[in-house]
Structures are given as structure tokens and as C-alpha cells.
Amino acid sequence: IVMRESWEIAKDRQMLTPGRGSALQNPRQRLLEQAQELYSRARDHTFQAKAAEEAARLLKVQQELTMSEGQAVFINSSVSDTIRTLITIGNQQRAQRIRSDFKVPEKRWYFLKIAALAATRDFEALEKF
């Protein structure tokens, strides 16, 4: 069983890394879904399966954002980074949606918001807190 698990992890690793930074994101999407599959089949890897699922979901959102915002800054950044970027460029609504989609705890949300507003020197919005 241990052998199988480690084989799967190794395979995941191979699958996840080549996609990084490449322009073709769709194969990566599929690989992440496969990874999730494999993880959920292995025992004791529910956490990793969930992570792979979230990673795939995040990638999809980021692809949409890249299109809609016309900026290629989202892909390969983390959930927190994505939220922070969105607040920085003034898209509060979208940031809120990611917050609820990914169940971001309140404390982290406020840390990110403060950091983003401070970075853009949006003191008015900071005051309103």
C-alpha cells in the first residue's frame, strides 16, 4: 500500500510541475483533476485530494480573470495573492466571491484587505474599516 501511495505521489509531482509556467493551461487542469482522482483513491490522502480539487478550481478562476481583467498576473499565484491582487486593482466584488468560494477565514480576509489597501495608499477605504 505504501508503495502504491508513493508511486502516486511521484506521479502527481511529475504531472503538476511541467504545466507550471507554460501557456497551455488546459492540460494542466486535466492533470490536476487526475491527481485528485488518484489521491482520493489512495488511503489517508483526503487532504491532498481536496487540495488538488481546490487547485484546479483556482486555476479555472484565474484563467477567467486573466481574460476579463486583461492582466496575466493571476496564474501561478496563491488564493491569498489572487484576492490581494483583486483588491489592489479595485475589483472588490470578485475578491469577495473568491473569499466565499474558497471559504477564506475572516482574519485572513482582513489581513489581505488591509495589506492591499495600504499598498495602494487607499486611506479612505482603510478609514472605513
Binding site: T17, F47, V79, F111
Partner: protein, 606 residues
């Protein structure tokens, strides 16, 4: 190039080691006639600078010296020598360079020197790349490099990860080979103690190598120069590197990173004109003031520097006020001699001030220290966990967050499932999902795990007296001064080995990871003798080393997987204690901080 450490005062002849490495380097360079291009693995240039100056390379025909990169070789010379670690990605670069030459029809001779040894994987890569037939392969066994008069390092930064995560034992093999070589030069070490899986494996390999007479060096005759060998697997004590070192040298390494016995600083720190180029400041025992300061708790370094400055000032006033007629030239000479220390004074005042202003007085640093102390003492866990959660959510640098997290896990035997999953999720959300692999590495190494069963940290802490309440940093009476109140487990084990041997602390050793042993090695290395009799090891029944002639004994402590400067300071402190007639030499796979060690476990997607 940084100034090399002076090894003349070392307790054993480390110059011999350096000379040996230098000689083999020359032999490598001379393997191709005439002028040549020397292409170096960038990771090796630092360590190599501790062996040889560039002038030596020039003397032996090196016209161009390059770092290995993917770019074509910029030279008309026909002879090319590579010196590289056996890594696949380096092989690909070499292949690119050779193929480029073939394309533009330049004919050259290529020699590759692998250090510490060539591997089948590398040969395979060269074969696949189609350049196998173009190269001649050799080995350059760069083993233990003398970093200072009491520090030797193999400079293998991934040794810990290789063994703990990838199950790759080659670094253990290199340690064993280097120690076998050391025994061939300085004699077979009669007493050997070891703790941890790696330690046992290294000693087994050493025994086998002796049997096979590996190294082909002439057998050593005469009494052994080293009396005891203590092998410690880093895994035995991971708590210590996770804590912030509080000695002068340790703190410099924590904040400014010491590489190959030197630190690179911004010129403005040293009071020079601002410039893009960083200044390289050598830090070794050749600097007499540094020798005095390096092992002190940073809290008193400022004080010591001030005292020294005041002494010089007093001397100066004396010279100025005494009657000129009464002053002899030799008085003046005496005074000027004292002034020689001024450049070092300036240097260390600058560094100490930089550390104070930029780091050690900041609230973030102080609260971190407080958290570390809380964890080591095993108090109020909720507060520390919340503090770590905050760090993650604020996206503080990943290594520094993981250090505290690992310290939490190590002292609590893991995290409750609920917390474990929550923290892991927050980490992935903050730093990216690719760190699923980082988490996996940490779990494999046992550094960040789910709690299963109670922690025996409290027991270990009490038995080894790891926390000392009233340690006076200015006049310390215990090694705990190196971490302002925490004594490193690793050095407590050495201390115990010295005092009574390990038998009386069997119960405590059992609580720490890995098996342990105390053995004796037959001291005569006789190649003519049948393997069995002379080489067999017997359990050691008495404790330490007893020397009849009043000579100081010498103990070689080997840290497999890395050692921190603060631990080395603690050993130096031990040997300076009254009644302790022991000197220490430290050998390791790499000089580390908790951050540099964890960095090797972080999965970098790029």
C-alpha cells in the same frame, strides 16, 4: 576572494588536509597539457576558494575560469576541464556546450571531474544527450574542507533532505569515506559513539571500508591523534536548528547568511560608499577580534566592543598627555601595535550595529523569540498556534513560518488533526498549492506531523536539563547561553558522553529518534592482519577518555545533516571550562541555519 582561515593553530594538522585537496586539484588541472578553460559548478566555487587561490589555478595553465551555464564556451582554447557535482541538470548544460561546439565545428578536449564521485545517472544523461564519447570522466574527491581551525565541512547542502525525504544514503557514504580518509591520516579513533540512524549507518560503512582498505592511503603508524568520535544524526535534534541562534556568529548567519566563511554585506553597512557590489567580509579565526566575539551571546557583544574602544582611548590619552621627552620609541611602538586592531574594531562595530538596528531590536524579532521560548518550555500552546496562524495569513516568509511550525510539531509530537488540517490549508492558500509537496516532505522528515500519542518533550527537557532559568549571558556557566536559556540537545549529549558516557542516560536516549551505540575500535591498523581479529569492535564499558599523561584529549564531533554555529560555540565553551581537558573538532555535511535547512525541503516549482 575571501581570506582563507589560518589553520596553524588547529589541534590536528588540518593544513595537511587542505594541502592534500590542493594537490589533487593540481593533478586534475595537469591532466590536460597546456592552457585550458576551467569550468566550475557555481556551487563549488565557494568551497574551492577555501582550498586554493585563483593564482594557483593560473600557475597550472588555467587561462579562462567560468561558471557552468547553458551558454556556449567563450574561448579559443582547446582544453576544457569541468569540475561539477554529479547532478543531472549540470550534465545537460555540459552537453549543450559540447553540442554547440560541434555545430560551429570547434574541436576540443573535454574532461569532466566529478566531486565527490561520478554516478551512473550522470553517465546515462551524457549518453542520452549523445556526448558520452566526447568526454573523459574522472573523480575529484573533495571531501572534508577545512573552514576554520576546528570546523570541517563536506558542503553537501541537501544531505539532510536526501536521507530523510528521498531515502538516498549517498551522503552517508561520503561522510563515511571522508572519515575513513581522516583515520588514515590521523590514526584510527579508539572510541566511537553514535546516535541516530545515520550515525549507525555511517559507522557500519566505516568498518566495511577499513576492512576493504579503501582510500589507498599509506597506513598510519603511531598513536591516534583523535581520541573519540561522536557521530550525531541531525534527526536526533531538530529542535535546536529551529530555534534562533543568539551567539554573535550565529545571528550573523541567521540574518545575513555566512557562505564559505564570509558574509556579503551592503557597503553602506560597513561605512563605505554606496555601490551595487556587495562587500565580502571574511569571518574566521584569523580575525583575532572575531575569535573573541564569535561565541559570545549577542547581548554582550556591544558591551565588549565598547570596553575595547575605551581601552584604546585611554591609551591614546596617555600617549598624548605624557611628557614627550619621557616617551621612548618603544612606548610608541607598543601603542601603535594596539592600533592594529582598529580595522577589526570598525568592522565588528559596523556589523553589530547593523544587526541591532535592522533586526534584533524589532518587535517582530522579540516576539518570535518569546514564542520559541514558550514552545521549548511547553507552555500556552494555543497562543503559539494562533501566532503561527497569523504569520501564515500575513504571508510572512515561508521558511521562517515553517521553522516555528516545525518547532511546535517537534515539541508537541505533532498537531491535533483539526489544527493540522487547518494550518495546512491556510499554508496552501497563502503560499500556493504546489506546497502540497513541501508539506509532504516535512511530514516524511517527521518535522510537521499529525499528533498520534502524547509528546515526551517534557521528559526529555527535564532529563537533559534543556532549559536553564538563570543563565547569565555575560558570565555564562552553561551552554544554554547560546540560545539565552535553551541548551541544545545535541551538545547535552556530547557533554554527557564526556562526563559519564551514555549508559546512565539510556532512558533519555530512548526518547530521542534512532538507535545508539558506544564502541571501541582496535587502534592498530595492520593491513597484513586477517580482517577479523584486529578490526573487530567491542562494546565500550567505561565512560570517556582517560589520558595518563595530562594531555588534552581531542574529540571529533560529526553532525550528519548539518550543524549550526551556535552549537559549535557551545562546544568551544565546553572545552574552555575549568577541569575539561578536551578540545573539539567539528565535522559536518553543511553549516546550516534552520532556514537554510528547511529551504532544501521546500518544493520550488520553477
Amino acid at each position: 576572494m575571501a581570506q582563507m582561515a589560518n589553520l596553524d593553530n588547529a589541534t590536528i594538522d588540518l593544513n595537511a588536509l587542505r594541502d592534500h585537496a590542493r594537490k589533487e586539484l593540481v593533478a586534475a588541472l595537469e591532466s590536460l597539457d597546456g592552457k585550458k578553460v576551467f569550468i566550475l559548478d557555481p556551487k563549488l566555487s565557494g568551497p574551492l576558494a577555501l582550498i586554493a587561490q585563483t593564482s594557483l589555478l593560473k600557475e597550472h595553465g588555467v587561462e579562462n575560469l567560468y561558471h557552468l551555464s547553458g551558454d556556449p564556451i567563450q574561448s579559443d582554447l582547446r582544453n576544457v576541464i569541468y569540475l561539477v557535482r554529479p547532478q543531472m541538470k549540470l550534465m545537460k548544460m555540459i552537453a549543450d556546450q559540447i553540442r554547440h561546439d560541434t555545430q560551429v565545428k570547434i574541436q576540443r578536449q573535454y574532461s569532466i571531474y566529478f566531486t565527490p564521485r561520478r554516478t551512473i545517472v550522470c553517465e546515462k544523461v551524457l549518453e542520452d544527450e549523445g556526448v558520452f564519447a566526447d568526454v573523459v570522466m574522472h573523480e575529484y574527491p573533495l571531501d572534508l574542507i577545512p573552514f576554520d581551525e576546528d570546523i570541517l565541512s563536506l558542503e553537501m547542502e541537501t544531505a539532510y533532505k536526501d536521507a530523510m525525504v528521498d531515502g538516498d544514503r549517498s551522503s552517508l557514504y561520503y561522510v563515511a569515506r571522508a572519515l575513513t580518509k581522516l583515520q588514515a591520516v590521523f590514526g584510527v579513533i579508539p572510541n566511537v559513539k553514535g546516535k541516530g540512524k545515520g550515525a549507525v549507518a555511517v559507522f557500519d560503512m566505516m568498518k566495511r571500508m577499513r576492512r576493504e582498505q579503501l582510500g589507498a592511503l599509506p597506513p598510519y603508524s603511531g598513536p591516534p591523534e583523535i581520541d573519540m568520535l561522536i557521530l550525531l544524526d541531525r534527526q536526533v535534534d531538530m529542535v535546536t536548528p529551529m530555534c534562533t541562534q543568539l551567539t554573535y556568529e550565529g545571528l550573523i548567519d541567521e540574518f545575513m547568511n555566512i557562505h564559505n566563511g564570509a558574509v556579503e554585506v551592503d557597503p553602506t553597512v560597513m561605512g563605505a560608499v554606496p555601490s551595487q557590489r556587495k562587500m565580502k567580509v571574511p569571518l574566521n579565526s584569523s580575525d583575532k577580534l572575531f575569535r573573541e566575539l564569535r561565541d559570545l551571546n549577542f547581548g554582550i557583544v556591544g558591551q565588549v566592543l565598547r570596553q575595547k574602544a575605551e581601552a584604546i582611548k585611554a591609551d591614546y590619552t596617555e600617549v598624548r598627555t605624557t611628557d614627550r621627552q619621557a616617551q621612548s620609541v618603544s612606548d610608541l611602538k607598543e601603542f601603535v601595535k594596539k592600533l592594529n586592531v582598529l580595522p577589526e574594531m570598525t568592522r565588528h562595530t559596523n556589523i553589530a550595529q547593523h544587526l541591532t538596528a535592522t533586526y534584533t531590536t524589532k518587535p517582530a524579532f522579540l516576539s518570535r523569540l518569546h514564542m520559541e521560548q514558550t514552545l521549548v518550555e511547553g507552555r500556552s500552546l494555543d497562543v503559539t498556534l494562533e501566532y503561527i496562524e497569523d504569520l501564515i495569513q500575513k504571508q510572512e516568509p515561508l521558511t521562517s513560518v515553517l521553522r516555528l511550525l516545525c518547532l511546535f510539531s517537534l515539541t508537541n509530537n505533532g498537531l491535533l488533526k483539526k489544527n493540522f488540517d487547518h494550518i495546512r490549508r491556510e499554508l496552501l492558500h497563502s503560499y500556493g498549492f504546489e506546497h502540497v509537496f513541501t508539506l509532504n516532505n516535512l511530514e516524511k522528515a517527521g518535522l510537521f506531523i499529525k499528533q498520534e500519542g502524547k509528546s515526551n518533550w517534557a521528559l526529555i527537557k527535564r532529563n537533559l536539563r534543556l532549559t536553564v532559568d538563570d543563565v547569565d549571558d555575560a558570565n555564562p556557566n552553561d551552554i544554554a547561553y547560546t540560545y539565552s536559556g535553551y541548551a541544545p540537545i545535541s551538545i547535552r549529549l556530547v557533554q554527557q558522553a564526556l562526563k559519564t558516557g551514555w549508559r546512565p542516560i539510556d532512558d533519555t536516549l530512548r526518547l530521542l529518534p534512532g538507535p545508539w551505540f558506544e564502541k571501541k575500535q582496535a587502534s592498530i591498523m595492520n593491513p597484513g592482519m586477517p580482517a577479523e581479529g584486529g578490526l573487530d569492535t567491542t562494546p565500550l564499558d567505561h565512560s570517556g577518555v582517560h589520558l595518563a599523561d595530562g594531555r588534552r584529549s581531542l574529540i571529533l564531533v560529526v553532525f550528519i545533516g548539518g550543524v549550526t554555529f551556535a552549537e559549535i560555540s557551545a562546544l568551544r565553551f565546553l572545552s574552555a571550562q575549568e577541569g575539561v581537558k578536551t578540545d573539539f573538532i567539528v565535522a559536518t555535511t553543511k553549516l546550516i541555519t534552520g532556514s537554510s535547512l528547511l529551504q532544501t525541503l521546500i518544493e520550488d516549482p520553477s
